[in-house]
């Protein structure tokens, strides 16, 4: 026996997609909206981005170092959490908000539950909600440069119609809001890339947007007002939430059936929060609430094994 060969269980070939590559694709897909935020909101946005991403990566490294765990910052997930959190902050937020938020996202929401794959709540959203509750005034101040006024969502809420903006502003993103949520077109561009690369499937975003639209058409205004619906769809964090937050693998159901239920719940909750609630954090809360329901959703939506129940005919 002169030469021996490697032995392992089948399959002997694997798809080239890795967890790392998925993280890179999502980061790449967030580039358009991040760049738009940087160009539109200026240097302050860059500082917040750097601080927040630096904070998530540092805290993951630090936590694993002191607990003698394998260092996992190379998998890209801490960077992605930092990026997602940063683009969910208003540009006027003070520098320490980014660092504190990053630490909360990584240490409390992610690592204490066992790290990547174990957390039940989206770390960036968990941190955002923590910040909004704790530092409400900083987190809801959307003034920048010369602008200080109500956000489109606030206008829709109080007046039922947009007076300071038109639909095109919302679509392009020249409106107040968090760093990465304002430009619908930039978000959709990134989302299209993720769908094309098969990183995300349409199930979650589409079921969110459809159920939200249905809710708005039924309860949002007195008539079936398409213009009002489009304004609702293009303002606030719903686009960013539907395409980039709710689609987080770890905190969403595992099967397509489950994902549709999950999406419908989020869409309806956003509708309820926007129409009947007072908070401006509807999207974040809706997703986090639905995250908590994932074990239940998974339980009722696990696919039925092929051929269970015997032959179909004959």
């Amino acid at each position: 026996m002169e030469h021996q060969y490697h032995i392992s269980s089948s399959p002997h070939i694997r798809d080239t997609l890795t967890t790392n590559k998925i993280m890179q694709y999502v980061i790449l897909a967030l580039l358009p909206t991040t760049l738009f935020g940087v160009v539109y909101f200026g240097l302050d946005a860059v500082i917040l981005l750097v601080l927040t991403i630096g904070s998530t990566v540092f805290f993951e490294y630090f936590y694993e170092k002191i607990l003698h765990l394998p260092i996992t910052i190379k998998d890209g997930s801490a960077f992605l959490t930092g990026l997602l959190l940063a683009i969910n902050l208003p540009v006027s937020a003070p520098w320490w908000i980014g660092i504190l938020g990053g630490a909360f996202a990584i240490v409390v929401v992610k690592m204490l539950f066992g790290g990547l794959g174990q957390n039940f709540m989206n770390p960036a959203l968990g941190a955002r909600c923590f910040l909004v509750i704790s530092f409400t005034s900083y987190m809801t101040d959307f003034s920048y440069d010369a602008f200080s006024g109500a956000t489109p969502l606030a206008e829709l809420k109080t007046d039922g119609i947009l007076s300071s903006f038109d639909l095109m502003d919302l679509f392009v993103g020249t409106i107040p809001g968090t760093i990465g949520e304002t430009s619908v077109i930039a978000i959709l561009l990134g989302a299209a890339f993720l769908v094309y690369k098969k990183v995300i499937r349409l199930t979650i975003p589409v079921s969110i947007l459809v159920s939200f639209s249905a809710f708005i058409l039924l309860f949002g205004s007195s008539s079936l007002d398409i213009h009002y619906l489009l304004c609702q769809l293009c303002s606030g964090g719903i686009m960013l939430g539907a395409w980039f937050m709710a689609t987080d693998y770890v905190t969403s159901p595992i099967s397509d059936q489950g994902r549709i239920i999950f999406g419908i719940i989020i869409g309806l909750l956003i509708g309820i929060f926007r129409i009947f609630g007072a908070s401006s954090e509807g999207v974040s809360y809706a997703i986090i609430f639905a995250n908590l329901l994932v074990p239940l959703i998974d339980k009722i939506s696990i696919p039925k094994p092929f051929g269970k129940g015997g032959p179909k005919n004959g």
Binding site: Y5, K21, I302, P305, F306, G307, K308, P311, G314
Partner: protein
């Protein structure tokens, strides 16, 4: 016509171009052959020859040792040297009859028949005597499979010609080069089932094959050629039956429970040889492929010659392989050395360079759900693997782990490179062994 398929599955690169245009060539064994007594599931065959006996090609040298066992015949003429143990392709030690080849290939007289003149009993008898087993890899004896408890209820004879594993092209070449033999084999089996229609399911990456067979079958009412979507595991028994007939079966059912008999291409050729020509199953066609070989292609080989001999005789390696796979890269077994003898179930050898072979480390599951969406059995592989790794047999059963067909699609797509299929099949083995202990 719409090409049929099933839900789930994956699309690995097919790499069939490496071997598909090479005509079948015969390669003769060397001075010694090692003919395994276990070339089928079930008990090993019982040797009928002793050291020093002279044997002829096609001579019965070992007799079926149980119900799902099969006869074994010599593939060479020469002198028996004794019984020796050797590694099988699945890594176990098997007993083999060692025969010194005199290179004369004198054979026993083969007793031929015309299709019109053979009756059902004789067909089964001749298949049994010839030691024909399922040549796709499982090695289930054909005379048992073709004698189900409900022959009158069989209305579908499904010919598994999907050949969905990457690299393998043996069935494709057989259908092109021996199409008449192949169709005659199907007609032989159709004679056993009065109301059956044969459906030849072929993936649509072999359109020339589909066209050729459709042309040859245009006057035959009871043989239909069915184009299938090219997708792995299209040739999985349950997936194939579902794609062609819409019928579903689970792990506790056999194809004949839904009126089907499934057999693969080479089994029909072996059946034709056995019934019409009276030639037993001691040769077969296999694909030699991968990126490391001087002459990849499709070869007619004799049972008992070793992997090493075939590779040597075809020019050897041009690159040092990292892995040698007996069978396809999705479900085949990696073998650790080349002195392993071929059996009736050796469908291919794939020699892969380390650049192609996946030897990656696995990381944590991120719940992406890819394994769920590709699973042809509609299971949740990540949960099953987790239950298996935790030794949670009840959880494993609750998630219907025994329904897994071990196609490996979940491991293929997993971005965390977890060894899902391996964990699941280990747990399955443990549970099946435990249940067997109970009975």
């Amino acid at each position: 016509m719409k090409h049929l398929s099933f839900e789930g599955g994956i699309h690995p690169g097919d790499f069939k171009d490496i071997a598909k245009n090479h005509e079948i060539k015969e390669v003769l064994p060397g001075d010694i052959v090692l003919i395994p007594l276990s070339q089928h599931i079930g008990a090993p065959a019982i040797p009928l020859v002793e050291k020093g006996d002279e044997v002829l090609v096609g001579q019965l040298i070992a007799e079926a040792g149980g119900f799902v066992s099969a006869n074994v015949h010599s593939s060479v003429s020469g002198k028996v040297k004794g019984i020796k143990s050797s590694f099988s392709t699945t890594g176990f030690q098997v007993q083999c009859i060692e025969i010194e080849n005199n290179h004369l290939y004198e054979h026993v007289s083969f007793d031929s028949r015309l299709l019109e003149n053979v009756e059902k009993e004789e067909i089964l008898e001749r298949i049994k005597n010839a030691g024909v087993v399922g040549m796709g890899g499982a090695g289930f004896p054909s005379h048992v499979k073709l004698a189900p408890k409900n022959p009158e209820a069989i209305d579908c004879l499904i010919v598994n010609a999907a050949e969905c594993e990457p690299y393998i092209t043996a069935d494709y070449r057989c259908m092109l080069e021996a199409s008449d033999e192949f169709l005659l084999g199907i007609e032989v089996v159709l004679k056993l089932f009065d109301k059956a229609v044969a459906y030849i399911g072929i993936e649509d990456n072999k359109m020339d094959c589909i066209a050729l067979l459709q042309d040859k079958c245009k006057d035959k009412d009871n043989i239909k050629v069915i184009p299938l979507v090219t997708k792995y595991p299209q040739g999985g028994e349950r997936q194939l039956i579902h794609a062609i007939t819409g019928r579903k079966l689970n792990s506790s059912m056999l194809p004949n429970d839904v009126g089907c008999i499934v057999n693969n291409v080479e089994s029909f050729i072996a059946i034709k040889k056995a019934v019409i020509d009276g030639i037993p199953a001691y040769q077969r066609i296999l694909t030699l492929s991968g990126d490391c070989l001087q002459s990849p292609g499709n070869y007619l080989i004799s049972v008992g010659m070793t992997h090493q001999e075939l590779i040597d005789q075809t020019g050897g390696f041009v690159l040092t392989p990292s892995k040698i796979i007996s069978g396809g890269p999705m479900m085949g077994f990696s073998i650790f050395h080349l002195d392993t003898p071929f059996t009736k179930t050796s469908s291919s050898i794939v020699c892969l360079h380390e650049d192609v072979v996946s030897m990656c480390e696995s990381s944590v599951c991120i719940n992406c759900g890819r394994c769920v969406s590709v699973c042809p059995s509609k299971l949740v592989p990540s949960r099953l693997a987790k239950a298996a790794e935790n030794g949670d047999q009840q959880g494993f059963m609750d998630y219907h782990g025994l329904e897994c067909i071990e196609c490996g699609s979940c491991s293929y797509v997993c971005p965390a490179k977890k060894h899902l299929k391996q964990s699941i099949s280990n747990a399955k083995k443990q549970i099946i062994a435990k249940n067997r202990g109970k009975k």
